[in-house]
Symmetry: C2
Subunit: 126 residues, 2 copies
């Protein structure tokens, strides 16, 4: 999972950033963690459409890249908490800028998708 078989192209810094937050849920997880949601079950509650397996994978990658920190309390029942590292915090302004831009556009975006789909869609799925 951690190995990269195909050489990635880092011609621009964005590729690096993508490598880190490019997963489907990573940015959202990052946001949640930054707002104080720390425990796996809590995160899962907030993102019920993703399975715990996937969340674990994404969290593990974030941890791997040094963005978040995982603390395990060897208790019964098990207790795990995630938190942003200093490095992860340095990323938050960028994340927030991205989120702000996207949020401002989401309405138009959905509309655009509907409009164009009338012109372009060939298979509506199935």
């Amino acid at each position: 999972m951690y190995e990269k078989k195909i050489p990635k192209d880092f011609s621009c810094g964005i590729s690096v950033l993508m490598e880190i937050i490019g997963g489907k849920w990573k940015s959202y997880l990052l946001f949640l963690i930054s707002t104080g949601v720390r425990r796996p079950s809590e995160l899962h509650r907030k993102v019920p459409t993703a399975t715990s397996r996937v969340l674990n994978l994404q969290l593990k990658e974030l941890e791997f890249h040094g963005i978040i920190c995982k603390e395990i309390y060897p208790e019964v029942p098990p207790h795990v908490e995630y938190s942003l590292t200093a490095f992860g915090k340095s990323l938050m302004p960028v994340i927030n800028a991205m989120d702000a831009w996207g949020s401002g556009y989401v309405g138009e975006f959905q509309q655009l998708m509907r409009q164009k789909s009338e012109l372009y869609v060939v298979e509506t799925g199935e």
Copy 2:
């Protein structure tokens, strides 16, 4: 190509942004166009590792989302130029922030990948 069979999750604005610049070369193309590289053949020269087909696909998606504008001059030989739309320009600050952060980290990132790969890599890629 334009249809989305699987419902995307736009719980945060970043997903929207990803939808727009999430392609492998899109951000780089955007950067190049913003710096004045306009013609397909020029872009292809700058990104020789991608085939023209792929570049065309990515450019088409950028155009689809209203980020760039394509002008066709019906000449012989054919002449095509891309340019940023006003909307595309509104995206540039975000792009630049992303690029800046990633660029600042690219060195450490490569190192990290090497270090960890000693621990995790199973196939160094044929």
